[in-house]
Amino acid sequence: MKWRLLPMMELNGAMQMAIDEAILTARARHKVPNTIRFYTWKPSCVTIGYFQSAQQEVDLEKAKQAGVDVVRRYTGGGAVLHDNEVTYSIVLTESDVPSNIIDSYKKLCLPIVYALRLLGLKAEFAPINDILVSGRKISGNAQTRKQGVVLQHGTLLLKVDIAKMFSLLKVPNEKLRDKVIERASARVTSLEQELGRSVAVDEVIAALEKGFTAVLGISLERGKLTRFESELAKRLAREKYATKEWSFMR
């Protein structure tokens, strides 16, 4: 089966989230095929899960001072600092994945596990929605299903800065902050940490492309956003993802 592969995009958080939703809508209207894209964030961004409260999860003042955007995702899950990472998104019809959510995470995470193995790492899928290397989290994933279409996006950490992460993220109980940070340091890893060298975005994307084609049994055809998608994305970024109403919905 032929899927579309979009060019790497480095954009702000509101626009990245808007593009993911625009592709989902275009797929639901049968305007585009199943699609994969890879992206990075400029400026760095904290995304919060659909059901989270920005005030509860993020130190909004510090994020502002640090020039880090804060954007609510269309998908559930937790707050993430998108800093040194490659993000991927997959948009595909719901009939292409198991109806059980965790089974579908597994199906869509296995290409990433494969890519990590190509890079020389022993990776594994860890339910509900994580990928681990040496028992430590290197990738988190989140999905939503709308109008018969699945959108799954996720991260692959190139480098991790726990101190920066927790300067921006709040912890549920501030009295336990030190303990939470200590635990997170032991539980999170990155490509740089595991490979002992810095890793270029292009190298990671090349491995991910191989992972998706090999594991999903698809071929990737390079394409670009349609006019429908880019216009819808610009509108969604402006009227939804960049608005206070959306960010502070809960």
Binding site: G49, Y50, F51, Q52, S53, Q56, T75, G76, G77, G78, A79, N100, I101, I102, I128, N129, A142, Q143, T144, R145, K146, V171, P172, N173, L176, V180, R250
Partner: protein, 100 residues
Amino acid sequence: MELYEMKLINYKVEHGKLLRISVEFQGDRITQIRITGDFFVHPEESLFEIERLLIGKRVNEIKPVLRYFVRTKGVQLVGFSVEDLVEALNLAMVDKETQA
């Protein structure tokens, strides 16, 4: 006049996600509730329906209501279960919380 207090509770589901619940009770009836956290609900809008369903209910009568709702609407709760939500609300009634 009685004053009602909004309670905030963090309930970490074992091998699951974190439920953060703001809830107000009048006696043992829920008068306001907002459930936030890093869990997943499919379809997402079902969570708002669950919040609406809980208003006016006693904590000890919500389990069958939620089970019926989840089953008949085909809702998938990921990272927590109906039982976890009920347990979290029971703890909120007695002002206890589990640590994340």
